[in-house]
Structure formats: C-alpha cells, structure tokens
Symmetry: none
Subunit: 399 residues, 2 copies
C-alpha cells in the first residue's frame, strides 16, 4: 500500500499484533520428495492454519531473490524496490553499530598484497576475528579533516568503516577488483558531490596502508557497499502504534530500528525471546519476532536441520499464542531451500490468524497448501497492512 | 487497465454486457460456521458459476475498506486511488442532485449550540427530516456574490450545500470540531486559491446562523467534505458503447452518471429493475444493475436478512439470464460481513459468464470456492476490461 495512504487511514487501536519471521522459511522438496516445512512435525502451526488463512508472499518480485534487507523491508510493509538499505548500512547494523543521519558506512575487507602491491589473497586468509579486532583498534585514531572515523571488526577479515560528518556522499566506487594479481582500486567519486568524500576515503586508505603495510597478512584493504542510513518511514508514526523487535541477531534488530522499532533485550533463544515479548506485552502494540535458524540451516544445505529448526519454532508457538494476540502472523523474509543452500526467489508460506480472518478450509501449513490458500499469492509488502486491517487499525477509504 | 490503453484498444461490438452489483456481497462465517452467501440457497448463481468462472476481487487494496464511491469506481474499471469522489459530491449524488462542473458541494449537519455558541449536540437530536427540509427551504434565498446557492435536505439533521459559480475551490477545512462543548470552527481556506470560496462559505454560515439562531434545536450548522465534481473518464467514450444504470438508490445512479452512464427509471424492486433493462435491451450495450439490500442487511448485522437478500437476487436472476447477455457479471463493491456490521476489506466473490470464459470446474458460488476459482484473486478495477474482452470489445495489443 502507498505510504501516504497508510498515514491517512491508520488509526490507533487497543489491539496486539505479532509478526513471527522464520528467516528463509520457504523450501523445496528434498530427497524424500517433500519440503522441510512439509516434513516437519508442526501441529501448532497447522492448528493456526486451520483457524486462520494461509497463502504465499512474493518478497520483491517474480524471480527476484531478496537479501535480508529487502526481505524484511517488505515484511515491514515497505516496498523494497523503493526503500533500499545499502550494504554498508546492513553491515554496520549487523554489529549493532547505531548509525546517525550523517554517517557514511562501508564494508571493508582486509586483504594481502605482495611487494608490488598486487593482491595475493582478497580475504587475507580469512584472518582470525581477534586479529581484525586488533588491527581495527590500531586504526581508530586516524585523523581526517572534518569527520569522525569509526573502524569496527565484523568477522574474520571483514570490518566496517563509518565516517561521520556533514555533507558526506555515498556515490563512491568499490575498491575490491574482485580478482587477485592486481592492486586494490583507488576510491573515486561517481558524482561531483562525492569528490570531497572520495578524497577523505583515499586519505583513510593511505594512512591505513601505511600502518599495516609491514604485516605478512592483512596488509591492505578494500572498501565497498558505501551507504548512508536510508530515510525510511517510521512504523510508530506511520501506524500510530508502539513497535518492538525481538531478535537474537543484531542485523535484524538493526533493520527493525531503521523503521523505528524499539528493540527488546531478547536473550539468545526463542524461549527468552518469547519471554521478552510476554514481559513487555503491555508496552507495545506490535511485536516483530525474528527466528534465524531456518535460514542458517537452509544456507548450509542442511535439510534435516532446517526441518528441526521449524519444529523448534513450532514447539514454542503455544507460548506466543497463549498471550492471545489479536492477530498473529507467521511469515518468512524469503525462501532458503536446503537443496539450493542459498536464498531464492520462491514465494514464501504465510499464515494469518485473527478474529476477522476468513478461514480457508486449509489445515496444514506447507508450501503446497499455501499455494491453494485463501490469502492467495501476493506481494509481501501488503502483508502488514492486511494484518493491521484485521487488528482494526485501518479506517475506511472514501465515503 | 490503464485508461489510455483502454481508449486505444476498445472497439465497438454488437454484444451485451450486464454487470450485477450485489452491494456488500462478501461475508464471513456466522454462528453456524458458514457465510451468508454460503448458507443462502443460490441455485441460479451456482448454475452460472458452473457455466462460467469465479474468483475474488480486491476493491482498492489489501486491507483497505472501501466506501461506496471507491468500491464502485473500481467496478467501473477506474482506479479508485486515482479517481477520487469527494464526500460532498457523494452526498449530493445520494439525493439525486445533478452536479454541474462549476459546483462545489459540502455535507452539512445542523447542530445545537447553547447561549454561548458552544455545541451541545452535534446532530441536533437527529431532528426529523421534515424539519430539516423546512430549514433548508428557508435558506434557499440566501444571496452570495457571484454564486448560486442550493440547500437540500438529506435525512435527519443532514443536508447538502451546493455553491454554483466560476472559480470555486474545494480546499476548505471541515467546521465540525468532532466534539461537543466547543463552537463550530470557522471556514478557512487551506490553499490560497480557496480564499474567495472560504469567504463565501463564511457568509453563508453567518447568514444561516442569523436565521436559525432563535431555534431551540438545530440552531447552528457544520460543513465538511467540500468537493467538486471529479473529472472522470466517461465509459461511453472510453469503451465506445452505450451504458445504462439501473439502481433503486440515488447514490448509485449518481455514481453511474459521474462516469457517463444514462440512468433508467427502474422502480423500487429488482423485478422493476430487470423489467427496465428488458425494455431498454436494444438501446444500450452495457447495463449496470445495483442491488442494495445485501449491504443494508450486512450493515445492520442481520445475517439471515443478508442471506435472504442474496436469495431474493438469486430468484430474479433467471429473468436476467433469459435476456441472453453475451457476458454477465455478478460482483460486489466490497464485503459487508454481517458479523462485523460494517464494510470490510475482505476480497469479494465475483462470477463471470460468457461464451469465451474458461470454465473452472467450480460449481458453487461461495467465498471459499471463489478463493479457489479460475479467475484468481485480482484487483476489482480489472474486472470490467476482462468482461469487455469476453464481449469482443477489446482488440489486440501489438502486432
């Protein structure tokens, strides 16, 4: 739905909505001819499907495989083709770095170059995270005119660079040449307004290189995914409600914060996440619960582990249902079929339960049943408006 | 479909299309676990469903509850988010007031204020329609510079104000403060081009107040929903056909007139409506038949009455089918589930029968079957182009 229309039609209400995102939920049949969701023992999900309605969501578009950013933007009701979260921002978000409006973030890789400055290893032998942390610590006092510099380790050879200051621009090239035997590229401005930023970035690279050139490994760096914090619609203002995110992984808390949600201290398990929701039940109207392990298992190509992750979620579901939300949604940000060991474009099973949901006589929550479900196959960005309608949070359009 | 594309591809033909709109057709299961449409005995509709194809329409968007205006615009093939019919226009339309292109209409309420001018009853005790008619009659000779003034009663405390003249603008505030204990707001311009109109409206309010201030009840007024007649595509020109509307309620005749349909003298019952269509069969290519009582019963929360209204329509259907239209459509402008006693956002059952319709092996016209129907779930604004294609009224796009 159009953002301005939401702003115009949304109304406050005394209802609670819970959005459960099983990351990478959608799958494909494995060796036994049935999908992870199909083979999983999911009696609580099936019970919800029986009471509610099911369908399939298309995260971004037909044939489009979404990253985590676009997949979640759509579930938050925002068109992922309009509201783009840059890679640098996602990476910063993933380590809980709180980006400000003047921050420019980039993904960094330490790499190894030879005596001629030509790359011999783009990932510096996947150097240990602790080493990367030490290098980052040694770079934090780099001085650049007019901006603050943040250098934060991520994992292995990866780090995040954040420049903070007025007038920074993200129209910069990527300096990773994507192959070995050549030197890292120089930072260049891709638009006139980025000339000053490019010069600052070149100074940062030069100073860093000076400091780490003597190392055997991780003696140079590449930068890419330059991005500023996007100016996204804020769910609390848009929908006139209080919204909380409950996610174990920082990236998903970060994505939720980008759209204005508060984040709950959710611990490390589904049990502690649900407990966090329970203990804050009166404080918020909308809860986003993120469950990662369906996706991790799918990405690893581990069919049975993904199936068991779904079962783990199913086992915890009664505790959520017991909170008696007016509307409960079970969805995924994209498919991650174990047989592909990667994100995919396949439509994603979705389930909606609430008092005014038109039950569709479907009793099992599987890809096949969802394709026949009463909700049909529809754009993921329409899910939240639909759910909020069922929660009495959208008023009539026109007389 | 895009209006310019329709204009380009539409061709005349010797075919007849009938669009039957059962207002508020879509429902939800009631106490017996099945919907109004599901429980109703609808053997003629089921016969049409067997011969044709069924599906669900989304009137405006996922989660959007349409008013009658947007619901009908969509069924007339116009995007209701693009073609907006203002509330004042709808209200004027609802009393058969024929708006001209220079008319500005507003919904008026008589209210009661105390000696200090503070509202004590926003609806003036829902004063009798006859009293409102008398007050309106006494205001018609109010003189405003450069415009004609029309004041027409609607029902109870409600009336319509129409100002007719060059250069009027609708960017005016609503003067109903939406609560009691405060005075009605003053009319103010919301844009510079509305300053003159605002001044005229203030003069009207001042003169009216002077005349009715002495009354115990209905001694003041509020105005809202300022709107000019929208400039809508005209179906006869767009589709190269002659179009007639057959509706008992004036609002639906008015909506049809806004898109260029002629209106037939249809009497007060479904029988007289169908007789009007029969006797004008050779005069038009497209007939819009509006049936109100499904919606009225739904709005009243009267499940059985809505079910019976559907059965009443079903009983008359053979007389329409006997006219042998090339394409017959049974649709609704929105859902009005009796259990909600209100319009809702739920997709609406639709049925299409014609020689080239691809039958979908569905034999019962219910929400559940429609969700499985061959037409799928699709935007209501696409229904008319689809029906006209089946009537041979759309030519090929591209070579």
């Amino acid at each position: 739905m159009d953002i301005e229309l939401i702003r115009r039609l949304s109304i406050p209400a005394e209802t609670k909505v819970v959005l459960c995102v099983l990351d990478g939920l959608g799958g494909l049949p494995g060796p036994r001819g049935r999908s992870e969701l199909d083979l999983a023992n999911t009696r609580h999900l099936d019970r919800l499907a029986t009471d509610g309605a099911i369908g399939l969501t298309i995260p971004v578009g037909y044939g489009i495989t979404p990253g985590s950013g676009p997949g979640h933007m759509a579930l938050f009701g925002l068109d992922p083709l309009t509201y783009d979260v840059g890679r640098g921002v996602l990476e910063a978000t993933g380590i809980d770095f709180k980006l400000g409006p003047n921050d420019l973030a980039a993904r960094g890789n330490f790499c190894t170059v030879d005596a001629n400055g030509l790359i011999t290893d783009r990932r510096a032998g996947r150097v240990a995270t602790e080493i990367t942390a030490e290098i980052c610590a040694s770079l934090r006092d780099i001085q650049l005119p007019g901006v603050e510099v943040f250098v934060e380790p991520v994992r292995e050879h990866r780090f995040v660079l954040v420049l903070r200051g007025e007038g920074l621009a993200d129209a910069l090239n990527e300096t990773d040449p994507q192959r070995e035997g050549v030197a890292p590229l120089e930072v260049r401005a891709l638009a006139p307004e980025a000339e000053r930023t490019a010069e600052l970035a070149r100074q940062f690279v030069a100073e860093t290189r000076k400091r780490i050139a003597g190392r055997d490994q991780a003696n140079h760096l590449t930068l890419r995914g330059w991005a500023k914090r996007p100016d996204l619609p804020q769910l609390p203002e848009l929908w006139k409600l209080r919204a909380a995110a409950c996610a174990v992984y920082p990236m998903y808390r970060g994505l939720a914060r980008l759209v204005g949600m508060e984040t709950l201290d959710a611990g490390q398990t589904l049990e502690t996440q649900i407990e966090a929701i329970r203990s804050h039940w009166d404080d918020y109207d909308f809860f986003f619960l993120h469950f990662k392990y369906t996706d991790s298992a799918g990405e690893d190509g581990d069919f049975d582990r993904k199936m068991h992750a779904i079962e783990d979620f199913d086992a915890c579901l009664p505790k959520l249902v017991a909170l008696n939300p007016d509307v409960i949604i079970v969805a995924g940000d994209h498919s991650t079929p174990s047989v592909m060991a990667a994100h995919s474009w396949h439509p994603v099973p979705v389930l909606l339960r609430g008092k005014t949901v038109r039950a569709d006589n479907r009793h099992v929550f599987t890809e096949l049943e969802c394709a026949q479900g009463g909700l049909g196959t529809f754009p993921a960005k329409e899910l939240l408006p639909l759910a909020f309608a069922h929660a009495g949070r959208l008023t009539k359009y026109g007389a």
